[in-house]
Structures are given as C-alpha cells and as structure tokens.
Amino acid sequence: MAGSIDFEWRRVPFEDGDTVASAVHRTGVRTWNRSLKYHRRRGLYCLTGDCSNCLVNVDGEPGRRACVTEAIEGARVRRETGSPGPEWDVLAITDRMHWLMPVGFYYKAFIRPRWAWEFAERMIRRATGVGRLPTDGRFEPKRARTTHCDVLVVGGGVAGLAAAIAAAQVGERTLLADEGALGWSLSAPALQARIEELSAEARAQPNVEILQGHSCIGLYEGPSAALVGPHGLVEVEAGRVIVATGAVEAHGVFPGNDLPGVWLGRGAARMAVRHGVAPGNRAVIVGEGPEVQDHADALRDAGAEVSLVAGRVVSANGRRRVTGVTVETADGRRSFACDALVLALGHSPRDALLRMASGLPVGGAGDVVLPGCTPEEAEASGRRAGAGEPDAPSYPVSWPAMEPDGYVCICEDVGVHELEVSWDEGWTSSEILKRYTTATMGPCQGALCGRHLAFFAESKGAPPAATGLTTARPPVRAPKLEDLVGGVHEVIHKRTALHERHVSAGARMDRSGAWQRPGTYGDRREGYLAVRERVSLMDVSTLAKFLVAGRDAAALIDRVFPTRVRDLAPGRARYLLALDEAGYVMDDGLLSALPDGRYYLTSTSGGADRMEAWLRNWSDRLDLSVHVVNQTAQLGAINVAGPHARDLLVSLSGDDLSREAIGHPGHADVTVAGVACRAIAVGFVGETSFELHHPRSRSVELWDALLEAGHAWDIRPHGLDALDLLRLEKGHIYLAQDTMPDDHPGKLGLSWAVEASKPWFVGKASLERMAALPLQRRLLGLEFDRAPQRGAPLSVDGRIVGRVTSCGTSEVLGRHIGLGWVRCVDGVFPETLNAGALTARVAPTPFYDPEGVRLRA
C-alpha cells in the first residue's frame, strides 16, 4: 500500500500509480454518479478523461474526473450527485417519468403562469447538475504565460512523439504537450515500452521541450494554442501545430448501454494492466480487431473470466449494474451472464482540435487522422507530420449502428427516442438536434456521441450540409474558471500624474473611458461655486494632445477638419470639429497655432488613439509630409477657471497674462510657479479659464503651487460632477452623451464651426448633400419646470419625439436646464414638450452668460 485516501469518510488504500478511480473501484464501488436528468446510475466507462461518469469532488473541488486524478495521500473524495447519494437516490423516480420531461421540455414547460418558471428553474437546477462550486471564497489565482515554438505537438503517444522527433530533427523548435504523463492512457506493455524509447529519443533532442500534465483546450488564429497546466494557462504561439490526440473508442448505443459495468475496451484494459484490477469477475468483450485479444489477455491477467464475442450488442441487461448482455452473433441472438461488458466497437478520432483549426497550419498524426491504426502506422504517420506532410483525416472505417433504444449522449441523458421525437418535431440537422436536445453539450463535448448524432441525421436522409459533425469550439477539455482567468486583468485604468493627489484629497475616482478621473472631492457644489464665484482647478491631463508639424502640417489640418485655418495666427486658437467622411461629428477639440507652421491640437479624452490614427491615415492618403506626435502621455494639463483665474496665475508668474497677451481663444508660453506651461485660454465652463499644459513630471509641483497660492481666493478643485453642470450652463455638448453616431454639425447647432467655403475637407461632400434635406432632428436647449431625469423621453401629445441627454439644476440661474433631442413634428420643431410629468420648453443656449462676457473678462 502506498497510502490511503478518504473516500466518503472511509479509508481507501491505494497503490503506486493508482488513480482515484482505480483505488475506489478496487473496494467494490461501482456506481459513481447519477445521470443529469433521469438520475440513472453511472459507473466507470472510458477511463481516458472523456466521459463524465466519474466526476467527483476532490478536496472540495468539484468536477474532477476520478479516472485521471492521481490518488494522493489523504485526499478527500466525495461523489457529488444523487439525493441523498448516488447509491440510493430518491430522484431516481424521474427515470420512470420520462413523459414528464420530454426532449426540449424546458422550452415547453412552466411557460404559464410566468411566475412558475422562477420556482421551476430553481427546482430543476437543484435536481440536476454535476457538482457544487465551493462557496467559501477559495480562489487560487493562476498564472498565464506565453511561449513560442516552430511546432507544437498536442499529444504524447507514439504518433505525437514521432512527430516531435521528426520536427526537431529538421531543426524546428518543438514543444510537445500531453494532458498526462507520457503514455498514461496506454495499457499494452509493448506500446508502453515504445513510448519510453521514443520519449528518450525526444528528450535527447536539444530543441524539444515536453510539457506533461498540460491539456490543450483550444486552437486559435496564429495558430496559437491554449494549454491548461498545473500552474496555469500557457499560450503557445506556434508556426504550425500537429494534433496527435488519438481516438476514443466508439460508444455503443443499445438498451442498458449506460449501466455501471459497461466499459470501453481501452479503459477496461488500462484498469487491468496499469492498476491490476479487473473491471469485473466475468467479462464479456464484444468487438473485433487486433486490440480485442490484447484486452482479453489483460483482463485475464488481472483475474477475470473473459468471453470474447463477435457480433452486435442488442442490449446490456441488469438493473443496478450489468448482469448480462445479449448479442446478435453469426449464430443468432445469444445472451451471456457477466458483470462487465467491454466494448471494442471501433474508434472515434479525438479530432475536435483538428476540426476547429480549419484553414490554419494544423495537421494531424496517428489515430486522430487514421482511426484504428496500428502503433506502427501511428508512428509512421507522426514522422510524416513532423516532417511537414501530415496525413489527411479519414473517417472511421467501421461504426457501431445504433439500436432503437439506448443513450446516445450519456452526459446529458439523451437517448435515441429523444432524437427521434426531435426529428419528428422538425429539428432536422445535427446542429439543430444538438441545440434542441443538448446532445454533445455535456462535459465530453461530443467526444462519445458527436458521430452518433451525425450518423443519425444521415440515416434520416438529411442533406450533406445537415449531417456533419457539429462545430468544434474551445474548450475541448473542461478548464477551471481560475485557469481561464489566469493572467487576465480586463480593467485597465489610465492615470494622470495627479492621481495620488486626487485620492489623498478625498476625491471619488470615476471611470471616464479608460481614465480614472475625480468625480467630486466630496461636495460637487463647492467645486461648482468655486468656478462661478472664485477660482478652481481641474485636472484635464486626460485631454488628447497632439503636435502636428512638418512641411504639410497646415495642409493636413485644413483638409481634414472643417475649421477655418488660414487666418489662425500663432498665439490664436479655434474650436474644431472632426467629421468623418459621412459628415458626422466624430470628435471635437481646440486647435492652437504655433510658430513655424506647427499646430497643437487637443481633443476629447477618450478619443486620443482614434484621433491619432485619423490624422496619420489622412496624412498617408493625401500623401502629405506631416509629423503627428501624440503628446497625451507626455503632457499634463490643469484647468484654472473662475473670475480670479487670471489673478491666481499672475501671482505665480512673471509673464504677461493680460487679455492682450492671451486672447480668447488663444495661448501663450508662460512660466507658472517655475513650470514651463502653454497657457490656453478656453471657455468650456464659461468663466475665465486657462489650461496649463506642462511636462507631466511637473504636474504635482504645479498643482500644489496653484492650490497653495489659491488660498487667497478660497480655491477648491472641481471634478466631473461639477463640470457636467458648468458646461451645460454654457450649452456645451458632451460627445457621445449628447450626440448620436449620425449627427452632422447642423443637428447639433454647430454649423458655425464649419467653414463651408473651403474647397475640400473630409465630410464636405456629405454635408452639402445633407444641407439640401430638411432637419428632422435637432439637439436643443430645454428648460423644465422641475428637475428632470437624464434619458427621460420627450413627448408631444403623447407621442415620443425625443429624449433628454443632459440636465441639471443651475444654482446661479435658478432654473432646471438641459439638452435634448427633439424630432420635427409636422414640419416644425415643437416649443413645448412633456418629459414625463414635467413640462419642457425649448430655450436658447448658452443658458449662462450668453454674451460670453465672463469668459472674456
């Protein structure tokens, strides 16, 4: 005895090399599970990790296949299904109530009354399932890594090893991955010896790496492969892939085919040879072919009485387990008493990886392309594949016919009868049968039943397009969720240099596109009033910032944007719209003219990458010599806004910051608190404002200096919450929030930003065509009698004609204001609308300081 495991509070000894399945089977346990739907007994079947019959909970982890789980000292093993357990299950009554749960019953039952489904679903979920996820919060984060090779070989049998050796011999970096130890699934001693020879030869190659215990769960473009190993996910970027995953023995479909005691041949032989345990005392092996005699010898060596029978299994008999089998032989129908029925009915290629890799440099070797081939043929196939000449896949030469009854899909309890009923209901292709019956959708993912489903459709005379194997998709082996999330951190935040300052000031950090930005520093009103009455700061480093330079910089700006550029002198700035070819607004910003024909362009925070690509693309298309430098990361920006903004800057700068030196909109290079800045006079919040663009490394220093000097004016920073109201009072739009993808400037009231007299700019032709059409929808300023809600529908006489896109209550105006889409009604835009119970009146914008006196102060 090598040790013992705790099997349901019972000490079960195990030997070296035992799996959980072999150790427990040795103690006489034959029922491992109850089936998903009808709670039928399920016993060990394939022993290759394909079927779902032996799923158990090991040390609290559900869904482990006992047949491929190594027995480890002290492991706690529990069967997971059955009420109260698999040996005696009160829900086995469902096996006598098939009429209550016909195929597709969940599409038909509990539909009315609707509230019933909530309870029914809960009941169904409790009655089915294959284990419970732990709820104690245990989670072991797994790593992910990427590796590169010329050739990836999936499968470490004779074909895989031969392929790896052949590839390595021609100098290719080769990675071989197998889901277990090399040769783990083989039983024949001669084959094991050959595996050892080949693995020694492979290991002797300097350019071969072998990963044992790594399951390939999917192949993707590249080709790249996802391997799940003991330490996490390995992504393999390979030049080509050789799939050598072998074959699973054909699953026979006949009455009683799911009884405990029915085994697939290789599994039974493996149990006997590797673990020294016979699957039963009296075994009947049904099948033909060279492997059958090997299986018989193996079982006899393990102490079983074996009968070899050639013929077609008519039924397996027994109630709790197999007690006999009826076989249609050449001599007629005969019955045999047995406690183990071993099936050797042919081979089904384990080819899901191969099938999902169509069009990629992925080939197969061995059983997966030559099902049922001899070891010698498999090795030769592997060498050909390794040398770059893989065999074309061939179909199984023989396939067991389905009897009129029996389970096709043992994972999902789908029998021949269910397929027949589904077909009669009109689900007449293998793909649709799959979806309706859920056959092939269980843990084996069709490894056992996929071909039966295809042959069933074929036998019904379906056209070729309706009879194929169902589409193979990852994962082909069940990974754990912790494997799948290994290395994936989907939430990525951009942070400005002032991030820590905001956090330490108590800011609520909001996600704004990819950026983290302060929403409020505790009291939105404080920030808002600071802007309107005193002075305030806002971190606007998130703005997209570009230097556009080079011989044709002016030409690029002129032709890409509808803005008038020719009269934009250095030191001046201008609002700018970016239109796409359809004339729709895709971004907006501010264009500042610099000396030497350069331009400094700022645009919305979320659009930096798109704007950069847009500029580069048009530079190439127009064959212009332009340099576009994205300075978003390089430069920080702080907006100083409020009636005392200029006073604050003057207190920290020796430069001329007068209205004459920096017009509105305009800019100048100045030094503030010792930091070189480009000060841009802007007007987004409607007060005197200067954006100080500066080297990112100086942001903290500048921010601190401004706050300190601002004490004299009771300075407060403001965040996005305050900004939302400040800009709304000025009637400024938020792109995306206030706009729709098909908005041209006219709909937004921004036609003034388009220089229509320019001979050409991106979107001009579209704008001209649209100009001839009457406006059907416009973004309009609105006033409400009470505080509205954003998104509220706007209606006229009960007919919805728009919605509120922005709204708020302006303290300085004492009004409820907003922006909203309004559709034309009978040729005119309504002046009065309803927003639910509220009344909305169209109002001119800007709501605040319409003459712009304050921002030019």
Partner: protein, 149 residues
C-alpha cells in the same frame, strides 16, 4: 523570480522621411536607437545624457530632412525592468511577444497595453506611456514576479 525595478530612461523621438532616418548616425552616449515606424525612431538613453543626445540628433537630422522633427518625450514614458535570469519567463506571463535573443528591441502589447521592449542578457525593460505605468507595475507584480519560483 525576477526583480522589478523602475528604470530611469530618457526618450528622444525623431520623425523624418524614412530615407533620412536610414542615414541618421546613432548619437553614442550609450543610447539605443530603435526604429518604431518607417518615419520614426525612438532613442533611449540614460537621463543624464538626454540633453546631449537631443542636441546631437537635433543637429544631425536637418541635414538629412529639413522638415524632420526631434522631441524629448521622456515625460511621456515610463520604464520598468525585469532583472534576473527569470526575467524572460516573467515577461512571458504578461505578453505574447517573442523577445529577441540577447540585446534587442521589439514593440507590441504587454499587459494589454502598447509598449516598447529593450532586452539584454538578464533583463527585460518594458517602456509604456506614462499613464500605463502603474497598471504595468501592478501586472508585473501580480503575474511576472512569481516566474521561476
């Protein structure tokens, strides 16, 4: 287990006609010149020689392309270096990029963000836009630091 270090690095950008950049002579000062696009090179160098490198490139480029542009973009980038024999394994935990052997340069996605990568025998330096710096550090600590353990 690779060590993660913040790597002080200056970044000088030169944009010019591809032919001009082909002929641009490297500035020396232990600077590494990397071609990041047909019309762009980035020069990575120790911060203490950044001014010298900037001056040299600025002086040389106009003779090759009068419209060429040279900028110090140091503030826009941040570099983290994985140091130690497991550095490359650590890198493979955060990127699918194939690294050049020995001293080399490549660019692509690291920890889901765009990056420039400098390699040496026992270290891998990952240079990302400054706003990704914290993100990259967190990913390196979470995923790469355990490599080889």
């Amino acid at each position: 287990m690779p060590e993660i270090r913040s790597a002080p690095l200056a970044v000088i950008c030169a944009q010019a006609a591809p032919g001009a950049l082909d002929r641009l002579i490297a500035p020396g000062y232990d600077a590494v010149v990397c071609r990041t696009a047909p019309d762009e090179i980035l020069v990575f160098c120790p911060p203490e020689v950044a001014e010298d490198v900037l001056r040299e490139v600025t002086n040389r480029l106009p003779a090759l392309d009068e419209h060429g542009l040279v900028l110090d973009l140091t503030d826009g980038w941040h570099a983290w270096t994985l140091v130690g024999p497991d550095a490359r394994e650590g890198f493979s935990a955060v990127s699918a990029l194939a690294l050049p052997g020995g001293d080399g340069f490549t660019q692509g996605h690291v920890a889901q963000v765009s990056a420039k990568i400098l390699t040496a025998a026992d270290d891998v330096t990952i240079i990302v836009p400054a706003y990704w710096s914290q993100h990259l550090r967190e990913r390196l600590v979470a995923d790469a630091a355990g490599a080889g353990s």
